[in-house]
């Protein structure tokens, strides 16, 4: 994936002649966008060629086992698979430039439409997960660092270890057995109860937002009851990572001399930690959060499977299993775009939050 290390721009203080502003803009655009395009092109090429070389026969998976050779060859030609690889790739890239990623073999619809359908479900889940993961993970990490080696630190680290090592698949099933089947606190698998499914007017594709916009709180509650468990489980995984990283960043800061100085000055412990130390690690924590978010947006296939969540991860995995390469390459490009975009956003936030880069 894209490089997540960030370099601090060098100062141009010695430069006296003012450069042409158009050229400056162009050069900035070039510096930012060119690597993006090269990355995405490389990704498309790699996925495309690997996909075509896999010993999987997409034609057989569309036509089924009974198809005659004639039907087989007809479909093969219709998919352009009788042409040389470089030609197929050329056609594909030409399509991409006009946002045509081809039709998915499994659904018979344009890949871009499929992604537009499945992605909101994943974004909604990932966003709630990252809110849970960050909301609990950062405070937990900071507390852990503050009370290093105390029982609280141990408890947080132990919980984190579970989040790290327990498979989401298992946690999901256990969660369903406990909260859905035994206690009946939450809704079951799926994004919403069947009886409400067709009550939702798709506005944004995010059920929580769509129901909130029209003020349909009954359905909103139902949707919330469905999303909370998968989001908590994914959030738990994110929490484990975020709290662990936050802890180690904070431990480093808390051992610095300026902390002692601040304490000697008479600042309260809480103020020292949150205002002084945490501010210094905020940028690093942000990278961790962004990275976690990107991973969540890729779609968590096992969690999506257990919760019958019609999201991106399941779509991509299904496509992989049947050798639906149009869908696979389209999805891979999207994942690439997500990482690159979050990377760029991180860069921008650095400039805002880190005084050294101003």
């Amino acid at each position: 994936m894209a490089d997540l290390t960030h370099s601090v721009p060098r100062s141009d203080a010695g430069n006296r002649t003012k450069p042409n502003p158009v050229l400056v803009v162009l050069s900035i655009l070039g510096k930012t966008l060119l690597p993006v395009f090269v990355t995405l092109f490389g990704l498309a090429a790699l996925t495309f060629f690997i996909g075509r070389m896999l010993p999987i026969d997409p034609v057989a998976s569309i036509l089924g086992d009974n198809a005659t050779q004639e039907a087989y060859e007809k479909m093969s030609a219709a998919l352009g698979m009788d042409k040389p690889l470089w030609y197929q790739f050329g056609v594909y890239v030409k399509g991409i430039l006009s946002f045509d990623f081809g039709d998915a073999l499994t659904t018979g619809k344009p890949v871009i439409d499929d992604i537009a359908r499945v992605f909101p479900a994943t974004i909604e889940l990932a966003t709630l997960s990252i809110i849970i993961g960050t909301g609990f993970g950062i405070p937990a990490g900071v507390l852990s660092a503050m009370y290093r080696n105390s029982w609280l630190d141990n408890a947080i680290r132990f919980t984190g270890l579970i989040g790290y090592s327990a498979p989401n698949f298992w946690l999901g099933l256990m969660g369903l057995v406990l909260f859905y089947a035994t206690l009946g606190w939450i809704g079951g698998p799926g994004r919403i109860d069947f009886i409400y499914e067709f009550d939702i007017e798709p506005i944004t594709g995010f059920y929580l937002i769509d129901t909130a916009i029209v003020g349909n709180w009954e359905v909103f509650r139902n949707v919330f009851g469905h999303i909370i468990l998968p989001a908590s489980i994914l959030g738990f995984g994110a929490l484990a990572y975020i709290s662990r990283m936050t802890r180690s960043f904070m431990i480093e800061q808390l051992s610095q001399e300026y902390i002692v100085t601040a304490r000697v000055k008479g600042l309260s412990w809480a103020r020292t930690v949150w205002i002084h130390a945490f501010r210094n690690v905020a940028v690093q924590v942000m990278t961790v959060v962004a990275l976690s978010y990107a991973f969540l947006l890729e779609g968590a296939v096992l969690t999506e499977t257990v919760f019958a969540w019609p999201g991106f991860g399941r779509y991509l995995t299904n496509a992989l299993l049947v050798g639906d390469m149009n869908a696979v390459v389209g999805c891979s490009l999207l994942v690439g775009v997500i990482f690159v975009t979050l990377n760029l956003i991180c860069d921008l936030l650095y400039r805002v939050f880190d005084p050294r880069t101003r």
Binding site: F194, S232, N318
Partner: protein, 539 residues
């Protein structure tokens, strides 16, 4: 110091804990399905179109059978019998080469337009014109692009005439074509209106249905759910349940939870373990029916070892039919060695159709006769079907006792099919499903091989994939097909099945079940190996 600092943060910790609790607020679970609807959990990933000319997988086939009536229907109680559906009756010419169907009156498409034999003729000609896999259903009986317009003709609004090139058994034609999705009556006007590049409305049918049937497709969210709605002006008896709701659930464990919670009435993809566990639980029942699918171990006759029929026969004695049938396969299928599935016209009964049992001594003797007293080494390709691995391992263990070393190679199903279709294998395990409840269905695929040359590429014929051709068997398959006397026909099949079991290119092992878990609120769930009748179910 530590406790002091800690106390300052008590508030924060308490808040966090409260938030954690709040985030799992108790929400009432929905625990009953609507009384007027059937709710199913099912893995519906495979759906890619609702075009009867293109559909080739079981999920969409079942949905089409309940949304698109065909000319005739399988009798719910006896799948080898045919009963009226779109056609209320039919006459057969003396030479058996012409069948005249008299359609019901008052057929209507969901659009409100009247449906006639003309649209039906168009729909059937369309299958051949489009040339997808399903075209073979018609081309096999002599229809092709050049003659189909003359051989499938609407004489008037209620009469359709089918002209055949040979005097096939009428019942076979009714099963193969009449009760098949290729004779679904499509709304020609709607499809022509939505035609793209001369596709006969194929694109339109990717997301719609446009036919005459008890239900219509009301909603489909790919990978999420399907809603079938009863057709108001259906010509037949109105369905008992107004709606059929299908929720896509891929994970069997999740399906089980939904079923136990009462959030679905039926779970279609439960694992054998779950089925065993749920069987007999109060409020639930397990329903099963044999389907026309055989699971077999196929041998490549081009292979120097497996070209010997004695070796192939020896392998059959290494299969623990009964042991596997009572363990791994208990909820999956029944032992079956004959190519004709139980329930088909001409099939041997359960006992005669499975004469083998695990017999290491016999296998050893056969191998010695074949010149492999010390055994050999061979590869077995298996796919991702859950029962493939345990069956293959059981055989592997038995084989080791006669010096045969079997190496199991597991791969994705798509890859397995490609290897087998390309004859790039020594042995492999996979399933095959036939479309007709007649011995001819499988005889024409698992036995008959008209051209064994590699360049013939008859990849749709498993016998060709095994590179197996027996001219004598070929002749008997053809003879049985055109035999007019049912008793004689059965006799030919009976002998053929016994011979093929001894010599054939594949060791057929099991006939599979269609099996599901169901709430006992559902009554009259009706199905056979070829069809599920949603319209008869009630609650």
């Amino acid at each position: 110091m530590m406790t002091n600092r800690f106390s300052k943060h008590k508030k924060a910790i308490a808040t966090a804990a409260a938030a954690a609790l709040l985030s799992s607020i108790a929400l009432p679970a929905q625990a009953a399905t609507p009384a007027s609807a059937l709710v199913m959990a099912w893995n519906i990933d495979a759906i890619s179109t609702f075009d009867p000319a293109q559909v080739g997988e079981v999920v969409t086939n079942e949905l089409l059978q309940n949304t698109c009536d065909s000319l005739v229907d399988f009798d719910p109680k006896n799948e080898s019998k045919v009963v009226p559906l779109l056609a209320k009756s039919w006459d057969v010419s003396e030479d058996r080469k012409q069948i005249t169907f008299h359609l019901n009156e008052g057929l209507k498409f969901p659009s409100g337009e009247t449906a006639t034999a003309k649209e039906l003729a168009w729909s059937m000609q369309r299958v051949v014109a489009l040339g997808y896999g399903n075209a073979a259903t018609l081309t096999e009986y002599g229809f092709n692009k050049d003659n189909v317009k003359d051989r499938i003709v609407a004489k008037d609004d209620n009469t359709l005439v089918l002209t055949l090139d040979n005097p096939y058994p009428t019942n076979l034609i009714l099963q193969a074509i009449g009760a098949n999705r290729v004779s679904a009556l499509l709304d020609q006007a709607t499809l022509t209106k939505n035609e793209v590049n001369g596709d006969f409305g194929n694109k339109y049918l990717a997301t719609n249905t446009a036919c005459v049937g008890p239900y219509k497709l009301a909603q489909w969210n790919a990978g999420e759910s399907i809603v079938l709605q009863a057709n108001e002006d259906y010509y037949g008896e109105a369905p008992k349940l107004k709606r059929v709701l299908i929720r896509h659930v891929a994970e069997p464990g999740t399906q089980r939870l939904l079923l136990q919670q009462g959030d679905v009435d039926i779970a279609r993809d439960l694992s054998p373990d779950d089925l065993a566990d749920l069987d007999g639980k109060p409020g639930l029942k397990v329903e099963r029916v044999l389907k026309p699918q055989l699971f077999f171990w196929t041998f490549n006759a081009l292979d120097p070892v497996f070209k010997d029929e004695k070796v192939r026969l020896a392998m059959r004695y290494l299969i623990d039919y009964n042991g596997l049938g009572q363990s791994v396969m208990k909820y999956l299928g029944v032992p079956r060695a004959s190519f004709a599935q139980l329930g088909a016209t001409g099939a041997l009964d359960a006992e005669e159709g499975q004469p083998f049992k695990l017999d290491i001594e016999k296998a050893k003797a056969l191998l010695t006769e074949a010149g492999y007293a010390n055994g050999f080494e061979a590869n077995v390709l298996i796919g991702t079907l859950p029962h493939s691995a345990p069956i293959a391992q059981s055989i592997q263990q038995n084989a080791s006792k006669v010096g045969v070393k079997l190496n199991l190679e597991r791969m994705a199903n798509a890859q397995l099919f490609a290897r087998i279709r390309g004859r790039e294998f020594q042995t492999g395990m996979l399933a095959w499903q036939t479309g007709v409840p007649d011995a001819h269905g499988n005889a024409s695929r698992l036995v008959y091989n008209p051209d064994n040359r590699p360049e013939a590429k008859l990849t749709q014929i498993p016998a060709w994939r095994s590179a197996y051709q027996n001219e004598e068997f070929n002749a008997r398959v053809k003879e049985a097909l055109l035999e007019g006397d049912p008793a004689k026909r059965n006799e030919i099949y009976s002998k053929l099945q016994k011979d093929v079991m001894e010599k054939g290119p594949m060791a057929i092992m099991f006939q599979m079940y269609n099996i599901l878990g169901m709430s006992d609120k559902v009554q009259n769930w009706t199905w056979n190996g070829f069809r599920v009748y949603y319209d008869l179910a009630s609650k």
